[in-house]
Symmetry: C2
């Protein structure tokens, strides 16, 4: 797998504490989550302040960092934000693009030949440039956000036309299509080209529409949520990771359903602690156990009942 | 089953149209939904303006109206409200208690001997008075709302202590317990007495905690939602109805899971048209088909994958 997206330092404040400088960014969260399933290559720029300690976190999970471009004299992307009491409302205090402002993605031969490509949430033009460098990729997935819908919608739609799968927040899916109904919104995006649309619903889970039908999975119920930052990218990492681990399998509705379960599991671990802390010491056994629990928490066997018409 | 709650006329405005005078009220929506599963008795007051046409809707579905108290010279409970663009935000324009202001519930012998009792959303003291008239009921369930949490919380908690099952909106469950975490909030309510807590999540579905564990079910995906009024009560009607149709079955986690599916199905039909219009011409076959679809939309079979720890 190859991921292009932000590599960042985050300052995060939640009702449970705050941290000044966490390793973060969509590409980092994706890569750590996906690393449980197969090889991952990260494409993106960092500054001089991105040091051995940060590389070590990625290398400890076997993530390939050859395509991380270190800009001499530059500063790494920085985000600071705050979550309110119920963690559903996020307030951005500051976004410093820094080295991202002039980023021109150049993929190595190895990254271009990846089986799967994830275009994490960055400028739609950059996503498109990367996508065009990978014509033979089996599956290209994309995330985006309200900023690009508001400032670069035409470019974003053009980028979406060239990908297979869109993973996006449900509110942003509605905003993107100007359709309040989720199913209608997903159908509209599929009309543009993608065969799969996943609407991420935060604490409620995620819903998916494919050409074969609908699937929905609640989030894993947690008694303690510490920091939601990166949950969506970990979801994408688990989702694409599962598909990457089955290179010979069709991208069938059944396989995509299972991918949803792995995405849900990875996202649930991510939010249990600040930044990448929980995923850094996660084990494969814990992931497998949580997927089994998710199945138990959502399955029911119908025992039909005589109904009075 | 017996239900005590409002019997109302509703004036509803949504982005898709408006109606001046719809038959509504929590007891009516519950009764129509539950009528597919067994006998239902409605307890509540109406005014002179509640006529043959309204009774006929209930009688057409076999609902017993002997305990509906007609107050001479009185006016039926009236609610008017409006839904915004995405139907998730509801604005109440007016609530006229009318005959409900002086309501003193008097249950007939037959209502007191019901197998299941639903205390729909009314003043907690009234709910408690009804509950105390039904000491032998197999399952007593309750709904409530922010108004009572804000104005009569102590009374509501005392009422909850005496019931088996609480069905409530997730935001109100958080408000009631002052706990932002849903699982913690549900546990706290269970500490007060109930063995089952269902958090209704609107378009996202519903989550349930019992002494045996957790279960969650997304809502049925609809491409057209016309009027969400009464969805929660139809959910309760399907949920309790399923349990009423299995009088000899333990209230096991498995049975409650299946009940969640029937509740979800009934709620989904309700919102497809204004007021009670869709449920009035619903058939048992349609309900069974939707429950099967819900199972298909949520089930996945895990195919374990080698995970790299």
């Amino acid at each position: 797998m190859t991921v292009v997206g932000s590599i960042a330092f985050d300052a995060v404040k939640t009702p449970w504490g705050e941290r000044d400088r966490l390793l973060g960014g969509s590409a980092v969260h994706f890569a750590l989550a996906a690393s449980f399933f197969g090889d991952v290559r990260v494409v993106g720029p960092v500054g001089d302040d991105f040091g051995e300690e940060e590389y070590a976190v990625l290398h400890a999970r076997g993530v390939n960092t050859e395509d991380i471009e270190r800009v001499a004299g530059g500063k790494t992307f920085f985000w600071s934000g705050e979550y309110e009491y119920d963690l559903n409302t996020r307030l951005t205090h500051e976004t410093q693009l820094n080295v991202f402002a002039d980023f021109q993605p150049k993929l190595s031969e190895a990254s271009r030949e990846s089986d799967l490509l994830f275009l994490a949430n960055i400028q739609p033009e950059l996503q498109r440039e990367v996508r065009e460098q990978c014509p033979r990729t089996r599956l290209v997935a994309l995330d985006s956000m309200n900023l690009w819908i508001e400032t670069a919608r035409d470019s974003l739609v053009r980028t979406i036309e060239g990908v297979d799968c869109v993973l996006i927040n449900d509110a942003e899916l509605r905003q993107l299509t100007a359709r309040p109904n989720l199913v209608q919104a997903a159908r509209e995006v599929m009309d543009w080209g993608p065969h799969t649309v996943v609407a991420k619903q935060g604490e409620y889970g995620a819903a998916m529409l494919t050409r074969e039908g609908y699937f929905s999975l609640p989030a894993y119920p947690l008694e303690s949520v510490i920091d939601p930052t990166g949950a969506g990218d970990c979801f994408a990492g688990g989702f694409l990771g599962y598909l990457a681990a089955h290179p010979d399998e069709d991208l069938s509705h059944d396989a995509l359903r299972r991918a949803m379960a792995y995405g849900t599991a990875l996202a649930s671990f991510n939010v249990e602690e600040f930044g990448t802390e929980r995923v850094q010491r996660l084990t494969g056994e814990e992931i497998a156990e949580r997927v089994s629990e998710l199945r138990r928490f959502t399955e029911f066997v119908d025992a039909p009942v005589p109904l009075r018409s």
